[in-house]
Structures are given as structure tokens and as C-alpha cells.
Amino acid sequence: MTIENTSISKIDTKEDIIKIDENHNFQLPIICDVDTLRVLIKKEEVRVVDVRKTEEYKQEHIPSAVSLPLSQLLEKDTPYAIIDILQNLGVSDKMPVVIYDDTLGALAARVAWSFQYVGHENTALLEVTFTHWKNVGLETETKINSFPTKRHSLNINPRIHADASYVEVAKEQPNKILVDSRERLNFLTEHIPNAKNIPYTMLGSNGSILRRPEEIKRYVENRGIPLDAEVIAYCGSVGTLSGLTYFALKSAGMKNVRLYSKSFREWKSLGKPKEEFKDANYWDLSAD
């Protein structure tokens, strides 16, 4: 367990490694580890975004974090509204942004994907949840943070987004693969035709929101999905769990990943075709 071994003093050695250029634009990896975030916080070179509920944020959060509950973003989920959010959080075009939650990283992933979609590429997920951060004894604060508004340009990245009509065509194309992030029993019940199932439960492990990239890569390759294929991830409702899949696949080295952010809920409401499996009573095996 790498995270538990994080010693508080290790941050000093990390400080030398993290090079920040004169433009203050440290380029984040897909997943930001705990030490890197702590160095960036210390140097005031990062915007930390807490996407839990407002009340949870008010109780306690990671130092310097600002609050952006996922529900606020989803209320008006348009590129312009998201740019507004970025500006109000004091995020300029190249500023490193690290996002965390307390829900497997899925809520953070949905917000991070939205930021990347409107053009804020330098966005990463924190590798652990808030509970884990606290449990290993890392610093928190209760101060409500706000920062002066910054200007942020809009630069939509259409290559990471899919809507229903895109999915409808893609599902029949051999080089495009739909990945359903829901749990196995939901997937068996019904899914978009030809989708493959990588339940979100496969992605995290031992307190880390994502397993090691080589493990994710193995799961993908075992399923016969070429690493250079285009993948479209979806889940049950608003693209949270599939948002996590989006980052998992990116971390495994897949370049061409899209999120169907409106996911299966929209697909069903539009009356689009579904694959169903009714020949077994698998739900009766569940002990929940």
C-alpha cells in the first residue's frame, strides 16, 4: 500500500522533484498523488476543488480547497456555465486543478471531465478520497476559501464527449467500443447493444480511487479491447461512475476515450434499443 507509507516528511524530497516553471504551470498527471498535491498546496500553485456536499466541505476539507458540489455543476451543465464556474473559482487557463470527493472518485471524475471538456486540460483527480486523506492523518482545515475571479477561455474538446446520436452510430462500428461502468447485475438486466462491461467496482483498490495502470490495462486487453480503440464510457445516470472509467482508461494509456455523460438514463428515456437478458434470475443471488 503506497499511500499508507506516505510519510509526512517525504514531502521535502518531493519538493525538489516538482519543478514549476516561471509561468507557474506545473503539468499534472492524470492522477495526482498525495505528496504532489501537498507540495503544490504548500507552494500555492494549485486550485484544489472539493466536490462533496457544501455541508461536508464546511465541516472540514483539504487546505486551500474551494467548494463545488457536483449538484451545482449538473444544475447547468453547459460549456458556458462551466467556464463561469472555473472563472469564479479563480482558475486561469493553465492552472493545475486537483479534484477530490468522498465517493470513490466518481463525483470528482465527472467534474474533472467537464473541466477538460471545456478546455481546462490541466485537471487531475486526487488519488484518494477525502476519508482516506483524513485517515492517514493528513492536514485539513475548516476555513471557507475563495479566490479572485480569473479569466478562462472556452476551448471545447469534442473528442472526449459523446451524445446519444453519436453512441447510436458507434455501437455498430467495430473500431468503437462501448464500455458500461455499472455493476454486473444492472448490466445483465439491460445495456446498450454491443457494450462491454467494466464495472466501476473493478477500478479502485486499497483506498486508492484507481488501481495501478498496468492492472487496468490488463483488464482492458483481456476483454479484447485494443489500446488504440476508441472507447465510449457510460453508466446509469449522469456520467459519474463512467467518469471514473474515463480517467481509468486514460491512465491505462488509452488515448481515445469519450464519455457519454447523459448515459443510460437518457438512452432509456429516448427509447433507444437495449440488449436484455431475461433467461436467468440472477438478482436472487444477491445477499443485499
Partner: protein
């Protein structure tokens, strides 16, 4: 309640501290490379470099069955030799079930733990994960020696001659991956009992019951038993088989089966058919003869691979808890539906061990299912409260946690109650057994799994677990005639089928009476067909009739056996009288009058009796 007043601990002499038991040494049933080889073969199969038949044989040999009408998913069967499973193993199963299965695990009637609906591509991941915890799926399916069972009371049973657990594990270790049993005519089952009352020695290919003769350890060995479409009770090989002849006896039996077993007719290739067709006396002579050949020809190197000592507990378990006066909790008291939940649980889930002051506690699982989060909390509770520090899974699809001190029973109860694992009724009629049925099995016709759960919920709601007259009766349900639910050894057993009424099909069960386990095991007699949705009503009706008809202190089980023998007194004398009484309950009305009878449990859609080819005999 009297419990606390009757249990006095000796406070003066060093009370044993409850604490976290140390992790058990890794039993190393698994092998790392097997996961990798499995992954490679899945790829070769997908690339059509491995034929479907070859791949199926390979897959089964490694413990993965194809899921119901879905070739791309597997049921992964984890072997638990002797049923002994550690907290670390339970935790590993919890994580694997969450990541790759459906978030819960299923305890089978042969002490395996099954993970259902695992994507074929992920089976290797499960296998690799299991190896870390010392577990394996190797030879859990296929034509090999399957999981070696052992009575969950072995080591704590007041009636046992000695603990058979290390023998069961040593036999399992000897035969797993052993070249002599990689391609038998059919699967092969070995069951160890603890005494003549417990265990399933008479319904296995080889069943062994501990015995001591002239101060020598040994076993009574039964051969050729087994349940299935046609079932047989095993035959006693000889009065006493000393322990130095256990391995040669098992080897001789397997060799004979390998040589003479039917490899053509898949429906009749279990060893019990060979014994039946050849005749027991002839088979018995052959075994004795073959055994002397084995004894003469087996290298001492081979013989040493059967190492009972190596399977014994490293740290000896305490003989008695540090307590003076211990009264059996609630066993002799009456409880009712109104009794406090803890007392009701004590009464039906806790039994004393031969070690004074220690108790075995049963965790009631509905048809054997347990969720990942429950497994984790339970694992912690086992570490903290069981001096033995492990659990045993039971053929009744429950978990037995042993070596709990009387003082700790309430704390243990509170702990498992917090996660919904403290249902009463584990040792009563309420704890119905149900195979996986149409939830995952290709052969199933009915949803026996859900029916068993429905029986349990209903009986607990009615408080039938508190009725001591029903306590020694059992309900066991299979979804087809193949007996995975062990319906033939139940007081009241059921196996699933379909009945045609005109052009429509209805899910029905054939009901059997009077089966039993143990050394005096008997097979149940088929009585009549019951619509799936009338099974619960039918059992309740039988109980009602029994209450009117029984004499004095006769239990339901005793009364049913009497009816089966035709020795009844009063209105119900025999099976025919019983059938007449039950006919109104089991009537299959036309669909328009009672459409519910044409739907199985757990499914809104119309019943269709869809099955695919089984893989048991691949």
C-alpha cells in the same frame, strides 16, 4: 433469562483474554501460474486457437462453470477443503466478489464458495487473487476429485472419536493436481464425517467416519454413495480401516473407477452406477484386492505425500475455557416468537462443544448468500471472538464459527447483528437449503434458490424456528433432479420440474419425504408434485396435519418417517392418506383461474423451462 446467572466465569485464575487471533499460515492450495495459464487459454479460445471442447475441459478443471445460457460468464467455484476458511480468505473473497462478481458470495452444499456471473475474461484475475489468500478453484469442477468435505463439527463434536479435519485436508492435498485423477470417467467426491450423526459419509463416492479399534485410529469407510438423478447410499467396505490403509483404500477405489467406470454414457458414469451394476460384493472384493496391489507397488515417496501431521493445527487449541459452571445457552429452555431476539438466536444457532465452555455459533445465510461487506465484518468478528480463528462453511449453506466462549456470545451476537447476520433458525427447519437454480445454473428448471429464501423468510416470520418439535426437520430444494440441493436427504425435499397443462407450462416441484443424513442416511421417497407457488403452503399444511395427528412428544421428522413406513396411527397412516389430505393445496388450476401458478419466483415473465446442456459431465 437465566443465561447470565448460570454462566459463571472463574475470575480468580487468569481469565483467557479475548483478542485478535493471529493470521493462519497460508494453506497454499493455489498456484500462481494457474491464473496466468487460464488467462492465456481464454485468449487462445477467443482467437479460436483452442477448440470449444478442449477449452471447456480446461475451464472446468480450473473451477469455472459456464453461467446460465451465457457462455461469456462463469460461476467460479472456490474449493474450501474440509470447509475451513480463515478471516483473511473471507476478506479476499469479499474484495473479489465486489470487483469481479456480483458483490456477494454463495456457500454451496459441498462446502465450496461460489462467485457467480464473473466475466470469463476476469476469471484469471479471481484465480490470481485467491492464490494470495491460499485458495484455489483447481479441480472444483470437472472429472476429478472435487472438494473434500469434512463435518463442520469435526474437532468439537462431543461424539467424535478424533478430529478428522487433518485427514480430510491431507487427502485433499494428496489428490489435487495428482496425475492419477485428472481424467476420471466422472467427478469423484470424498466426504469425512466426525461421528455417526453428523456429516455426509453415505452420499459420497468415498465416505469416512472416524473410529478407534484397539487404540488404533481408523475409519469406517463407505463406498459408492451419491445423490443425483438416481441416488444410492454408500456400502460399508469393512468394519474398520486403520489409518495406514486410508490412502491405499482411496487410491484403489479411484483406480478401479478410472479403469472400469463408464466413459460412454454420461448419464450413468458416476462410480455409484459402477458399484450398482457390478454388484457390491464384487466391487468390494475388487477394492480389497486392488488395495493390496497399491500397497505393494506404491513408492514410499508417494505414500509420504499423504501427510496428516502436516495438516494438523500448529498451535494446539484449548481443551476447555477458563470457566467453571456453564449451562448450555437456551438449548433446554423454550423460546417463543415473543422472546428477545438474542435468546431466540441462542436457542437455534448455538451449540456446546466437547470443550467445556466453548460454543459453536451458526451464521444463518439465506440459501448460502453473503454480501461482501458482511464477509468483512464477520472476518473481524472471527478474529476477535473465535479462539480457533477460522470459520467452517456447512452443507446447510451456513457458516459455523467455533470456539466462542460463553462470555463472548452476546458480544459476538451484537457484532453480527449490526450487519444483518444474526437471523435465528440456522439449526432448525427454517434454514432451507437451495441450490443456485435458475439464478445461474444451465440445468435448472426452477428458481430453487429464491424459493429456499422465501421458505426461510416465511418460517422465521412465523417463528417456526422456535418450535422444538420441528427442529430436527430439514427442507432442501434443488432446481432440477440433479440433487445439488441435496433434496433426497431432507425430511421434506423438493426438486424442480415443469408440468404441462394443455399448452402451458407451470413450474412445479416433486416433493419427497423422509430423507436423512449421517451414518444411518436414508433417501427420501417421492410423494407428489407441488406447484412452485404452493410449496410453502404445502409445508405449512403438513405441519398443521402433524400437529393434529402426532402422538405425544413425536417430532415432525419422526412422524413423517412413520408415515413413510406406513406406520401412522389415526387419520393419516401412510403416504396415500397424506396425499389425499394435501390434494386440495397442490391443485394446479387452469391458468385463467390462477395465473400466479404459472410464474416462478423472482420472475415477472411467463415460465418456460429453458435449459442448456450441463457441463457436469464434460
Amino acid at each position: 433469562m437465566q443465561l447470565n446467572n448460570n454462566v459463571k466465569t472463574a475470575g480468580n485464575s487468569n481469565p483467557i483474554q479475548k483478542g485478535i487471533s493471529r493470521p493462519k499460515p497460508n494453506p497454499k492450495w493455489g498456484r500462481e501460474e494457474e491464473g496466468e495459464i487460464f488467462a492465456q487459454n481464454v485468449k487462445r479460445f477467443r482467437q479460436k486457437k483452442l477448440s470449444e471442447d478442449d477449452f471447456r475441459r480446461f475451464r472446468l478443471q480450473h473451477g469455472a462453470y459456464s453461467s446460465r445460457l451465457q457462455m461469456n460468464y462463469s460461476m467460479v467455484r472456490i474449493k474450501v477443503p474440509s470447509g475451513e476458511i480463515s478471516p483473511e480468505q473471507l476478506e479476499k473473497i469479499a474484495s473479489l466478489s465486489e470487483a469481479f462478481s456480483i458483490g456477494s458470495a454463495h456457500v454451496s452444499t459441498r462446502q465450496n464458495i461460489q462467485l457467480h456471473w464473473v466475466q470469463l475474461e476476469d476469471v484469471s484475475e479471481v484465480m490470481t487473487g485467491l492464490v494470495e489468500a491460499g485458495l484455489t478453484t483447481r479441480e472444483a469442477c470437472g472429472n476429478t476429485v472435487r472438494n473434500v468435505m469434512c463435518s463442520h463439527f469435526a474437532g468439537v463434536c462431543p461424539d467424535e472419536k478424533f478430529d478428522s479435519t487433518p485427514y480430510a485436508k491431507a487427502i485433499a492435498r494428496f489428490f489435487i493436481r495428482n496425475p492419477m485423477c485428472q481424467n476420471l470417467p466422472r467427478k469423484f467426491k470424498i466426504n469425512f464425517a466426525c461421528c455417526s450423526n453428523h456429516g455426509l459419509a453415505r452420499i459420497a463416492d468415498i465416505g469416512l467416519i472416524p473410529e478407534i479399534k484397539d487404540e488404533t485410529r481408523g475409519f469406517k469407510i463407505y463406498l459408492g454413495g451419491g445423490l443425483g438423478a438416481a441416488s444410492f447410499i454408500g456400502h460399508l467396505l469393512e468394519d474398520f480401516t486403520p489409518e495406514n490403509k486410508i490412502l491405499p483404500t482411496c487410491m484403489a477405489t479411484i483406480r478401479l473407477f478410472d479403469r472400469h467406470g463408464n466413459r460412454e454414457n454420461m448419464a450413468r458414469n458416476r462410480m455409484r452406477y459402477l458399484v450398482h451394476e457390478m454388484g457390491w460384493e464384487k466391487f468390494q472384493k475388487l477394492v480389497i484386492k486392488e488395495r493390496s496391489i497399491v500397497e505393494m507397488t506404491t513408492a514410499s515417496y508417494t505414500t509420504k505425500l499423504f501427510n496428516v501431521k502436516a495438516e494438523e493445527e500448529m498451535t494446539p487449541l484449548p481443551k476447555a475455557a477458563n470457566t467453571k459452571l456453564v449451562k448450555l445457552p437456551m438449548l433446554n429452555e423454550r423460546v417463543t416468537l415473543e422472546s428477545p431476539a438474542y435468546e431466540r438466536w441462542l436457542h437455534s444457532n448455538v451449540v456446546p462443544q466437547k470443550q467445556d465452555g466453548y460454543f459453536t455459533v451458526f451464521v444463518t445465510l439465506a440459501a448460502g448468500d453473503i454480501a461482501a461487506n458482511q464477509l468483512r465484518i464477520l472476518a473481524d468478528a472471527i478474529r476477535e471472538f473465535s479462539t480457533e480463528g477460522t470459520a467452517r462453511n456447512t452443507p446447510q449453506q451456513n457458516l459455523a464459527i467455533r470456539y466462542i466462549k460463553s462470555d463472548d456470545l452476546h458480544d459476538f451476537y451484537n457484532r453480527i447483528a449490526s450487519i444483518g447476520l444474526a437471523n435465528p433458525g440456522a439449526l432448525t427447519i427454517a434454514s432451507a437449503v437451495g441450490c443456485s437454480g435458475t439464478t445461474s445454473c444451465n440445468l435448472a428448471i426452477t428458481n430453487s434458490h429464491r424459493l429456499a429464501k422465501e421458505v426461510e423468510y416465511k418460517f422465521l416470520e412465523l417463528g417456526l424456528d422456535t418450535d422444538d418439535d420441528l427442529r430436527d426437520s430439514t427442507i432442501k430444494i434443488s432446481g432440477c433432479p440433479n440433487s445439488c440441493g441435496q433434496h433426497e436427504i431432507a425430511t421434506i425435499g423438493f426438486f424442480g420440474g415443469a408440468s404441462r397443462i394443455g399448452t402451458t407450462m407451470a413450474p412445479t416441484y416433486t416433493m419427497l419425504f423422509g430423507g436423512s443424513a449421517g451414518e444411518q442416511s436414508e433417501l427420501g421417497k417421492a410423494i407428489m408434485r407441488v406447484p412452485a407457488k404452493r410449496v410453502i403452503d404445502t409445508i405449512r399444511k403438513i405441519i398443521e396435519i402433524y400437529k393434529q395427528e402426532r402422538s405425544d412428544s413425536e417430532t415432525l421428522n419422526q412422524w413423517i418417517n412413520k408415515i413413510v413406513r406406513g406406520d401412522g396411527t389415526g387419520k393419516i397412516r401412510n403416504i396415500e392418506n397424506m396425499k389425499a389430505m394435501l390434494t386440495p393445496v397442490i391443485q394446479l388450476l387452469p391458468e385463467e383461474q390462477d395465473p400466479e401458478l404459472y410464474r416462478d419466483y423472482g420472475n415477472g415473465v411467463k415460465f418456460s423451462a429453458k435449459t442448456a446442456k450441463g457441463e457436469c459431465a464434460a
